[in-house]
């Protein structure tokens, strides 16, 4: 039997499909809230273990991990799979530390047997690591880009038993716990924008971003930057595109004066179309982009702004004030 961790009511399809390719019997672990057994049954999950404890009313990484470690000790599954999310990774890491088990994170493929052979995504996908995981219970987090094996049709829809599990916890298990929760306010514009105009070392100063702001405004997009710009204090970290900033997938990514270090590339490589503006024709960003302009962004971008304004004034008359800023 293999266990999957369910974070919300909806199971993660990749995780369930991968689990079923590794073990014919898949069961789920859920914390507190209604685990949605009908949804789980659709994914071939035959039982859900619902962890309940008054100390786990608020999210507590250590307590969640300890509860999972206790459940693993009782059920002795062949493995435990979770999505490689903030909570999924953290819960498995705590459970692994407490149970004395290895953990393989960010896996994009897993092949059963003993040991499990797996492929990890490193550096946001810049490198792939082939590894072997040997343990009595194998703990794995599954990257969103995982290659999901065809698992055949799920079991007959209907029965997913619900079992309660009450772990033995003490207050020391919940010393770190959530005391406040709020909606995220920072960085959401960048993450969801369909057009991102981004600038790096070539912008040269904080003031230099004015023309990027102007172009982004005309295109209804957001302004991003590279780590160099953040490190120089030109832009706040919430604008940073990259492995340690925000990873984005806009329709269009305009990379201006950005050389294209791996740390930046993995943050923008999921964009549908990438256009690079760079003085260096040999820059990695130019080589990897779909389109490129070789030139100084401080000349190219103002010309683009003028061109867009000119075309719009032809189409819609001289009044273009609503398009400013």
């Amino acid at each position: 039997m293999l266990l999957t961790v369910v974070e919300d009511r909806e199971p993660t399809p990749e995780v369930c499909a991968l689990a079923r390719s590794l073990d014919p019997v898949v069961e789920a672990v859920a914390y507190g809230a209604d685990p949605g057994p009908r949804e789980l049954a659709r994914w071939g999950v035959t039982a859900v273990h619902r962890i309940r404890h008054e100390l786990l009313d608020a999210y507590a990484p250590e307590g969640y991990g300890e509860a999972l470690a206790q459940l693993v000790a009782r059920l002795r599954p062949s493995g435990v799979l979770a999505a490689a999310t903030e909570h999924g990774t953290e819960i498995l890491a705590h459970a692994a530390a407490r149970a004395g088990l290895p953990l393989a994170t960010d896996c994009v493929s897993v092949t059963g047997g003993d040991p499990w052979r797996l492929v990890r995504s490193r550096g946001g996908g810049m490198l792939l690591e082939e590894a072997e995981l040997a343990a009595p219970v194998k703990l794995v987090t599954v990257a969103p880009a995982a290659a999901v094996p065809a698992a055949g049709p799920p079991h007959a829809v209907g029965e997913c038993a619900v079992a309660e599990f009450v772990p033995e916890l003490e207050p020391r298990h919940v010393r770190a716990r959530v005391v406040e929760r709020a909606a995220r306010t920072e960085g959401t514009g960048l993450a969801t924008a369909s057009v991102v105009v981004s600038g790096g070392r070539g912008v040269g100063s904080a003031e230099g971003y004015a023309v990027l702001e102007e172009l982004a405004g005309l295109l209804g997009g957001a302004v991003g930057c590279s780590r160099v710009a953040t490190g120089n204090g030109w832009r706040p970290h919430r604008d940073q595109v990259g492995l340690t900033g925000t990873r984005i997938a806009p329709e269009v990514y305009l990379a201006c004066g950005i050389s294209g270090a791996t740390q930046h590339w993995v943050g923008c490589m999921d964009a549908r179309t990438i256009i690079a503006v760079n003085t260096d024709p040999d820059a990695a960003m130019v080589a990897r982009a779909d389109y490129a302009v070789i030139g100084d962004l401080h000349e190219v971008l103002p010309a683009m702004v003028a061109e867009i304004r000119a075309r719009r004034s032809v189409h819609s008359g001289p009044v273009v004030s609503e398009e400013r800023g």
């Binding site: 490193r122 770190a176 295109l219």
Partner: protein, 254 residues
Amino acid sequence: MEVLVCVKRVPAAGARVPLTGDGRDIDTRHLGFTIGPHEECAVEEAVRLVAAHGGRVTVLAVGPAECAEQVRYALAMGADRGVLVDAGRSDPDPEATAGAITQAVRTLTGGEEPFDLLLFGDCSADAGHHQVGIRVATGLGLPIVSGVKALEVAGDGLRMRREAGDGVEVYRVPLPAAAAVREGLNLPRYPSLPGRLRARKAELRTVAVEPEPGGLRTVRLRQPADDRAAVVVLGHGAAAAPAVVDVLDELGVV
């Protein structure tokens, strides 16, 4: 406040990560080395905390003698003491790394002031296992919060904030504690010239440990397939603007 920061020596990759012929490792012959972005923020935070509340910052790295370069960089940023942990193996797995740090902390604090706070990067910049800090904290019986983007002393504990999913979570944790921090926590300083001179002369302590190997073994590394088409150069300088706007128009964003 006694603060310990754990840093890792990692290759400073540019636009490509070159591999050795047998794919067992990153080919570092033509690369420099650095500490990861998250860990740079951890050092900066520790230096600021000690400046505000008193105490000392100790910086620790597990690995070969060359790790001294990264420990000295942290000293140049303002850390007070440097420790090299010799684990007797080149690239230990995450369980062995955590075991090495846990043993080293026990050695360092034997008969001395214990650490009030242990800081880690959220994950290392090369392997990115996301677990060493949690394993060390568990081994030492400390509470830990990962992914921390803001940290402040509040009463006799810490108040920490992080992003998770589409929300923000705030934690309150009593000291002693640990945190795995993420870039954006602060803007790390560049080391000053006096800082660099002091760091160059500083004596580093070496602690030898023998951690047990873990159950995750790297077999080899490989580059992912790159199936993007070759770049289309639209032109040079301002004269290329109409061609770029044509492309944007075709993509429906003008």
